[in-house]
Symmetry: C2
Subunit: 215 residues, 2 copies
């Protein structure tokens, strides 16, 4: 029974890998739409967010099935619940990419971001993508060491968040609307990173059975 | 066994009621701190957010215990998972109240909100509180009809969100900083409302066993 539980949990992990890969490309499309004014890229980000929402529902269904069939012990149960947490974080990350794309869509054909904002946003997007990619990598390879890097990536993100506000609160010569958009964008990238870090903690637990930070 | 599962689920519901009540007062303190520049109120909001985070962990632990002890059937399992969803939404709501208080703390002793923003923020806060209060009410009374009102409260919130942006994008005479704060505040109240609506759907399921929108 324990072996069969493992198998089903692995299949769940497979679904999470697909979600993680979607989460990564969702933010890539969203950022491209924002910085290049690319409408097709925005549609892609929206589509992917919808796919991710469905995937989360499927993961929840699979967990219910798994728990009903296997009647797991507490430690197995915690692993199943960890995958629910990861799916929830991934869903939010997809939605945050969607928010980025929607800011572009609201302002189109005007570009939402002035050059000094675009520069910071591009860096935030790169880190966001890297974080999502690493979480997915840990899911795929089981290499928990990769997860440890996420903290420093997240520190970089916080630093860029501060930079964005320095730009906004410095000598701002653009409209208030562009400042508001930039502040929201910074928040969306930062929250995306937070969810990646949160997902990574659960993923480490999922692949190693060890709660991060405890030995 | 089914009866004993019910009992444990009711005890879980009791914990959620306490959380819901904290979630409501957390936002009340946060808004008071924001609009009155009250530092003690801000500390209250932060304290409550921490309490709510602990409560969520306790709810998760209780669910694991419940599932291990009771080996429930699928429908019972879904009820247990619904309470996890509610606890997660409540935790986010507590964190969003904390964000409101933190904006006040960042700007103190300067007031973060100009009068025209304060007016909209006050109304958003009232609806936010009302939504949280109703969700808690449904948990307490099992009166699903109350939950149906949440949709129209949420529409009011969306309308106020639009109003806030009209204020910002109209004839804005204040600093960019105040505009950015107002946009973020509007987002915090709006997200709080979204989580209340999401929690309400799960709460209805929890108290009636019926998924809202399906008959």
């Amino acid at each position: 029974m324990r072996a069969s539980f493992r198998e089903q949990l692995d299949s769940l992990r497979g679904s999470l890998i697909v979600m993680g890969s979607d989460v990564t490309s969702g933010m890539r499309w969203a950022t491209e739409s924002l910085l290049e004014g690319d409408l097709a890229a925005a549609s892609k980000a929206l589509e992917i967010a919808t796919t991710i929402r469905h995937c989360r529902e499927e993961v929840e269904e699979s967990v219910v099935e798994l728990l009903v069939r296997q009647q797991p012990v507490a430690s197995d149960l915690r692993l199943a619940l960890a995958s629910l947490h990861v799916a929830a974080d991934f869903e939010r990350m997809g939605a945050l990419a969607e928010h980025v794309a929607k800011i572009m869509l609201m302002r189109h054909p005007v570009t939402a971001v002035p050059p000094e904002v675009a520069q910071v946003a591009r860096q935030m997007a790169q880190i966001a993508e890297r974080l999502a990619w690493k979480v997915t990598g840990v899911l795929e390879t089981g290499d928990a060491a990769l997860a440890a890097q996420l903290e420093s990536d997240d520190d970089e993100m916080d630093e860029l968040h501060r930079q964005m506000f320095e730009v906004l609160f410095g000598n701002w010569t653009h409209e208030v609307k562009a400042a508001v958009d930039a502040a929201l964008l910074a928040r969306f990238y930062e929250r995306y990173a937070d969810h990646a870090v949160s997902a990574a903690q659960q993923v480490v637990y999922l692949v190693t059975g060890v709660v991060p930070g405890r030995s």
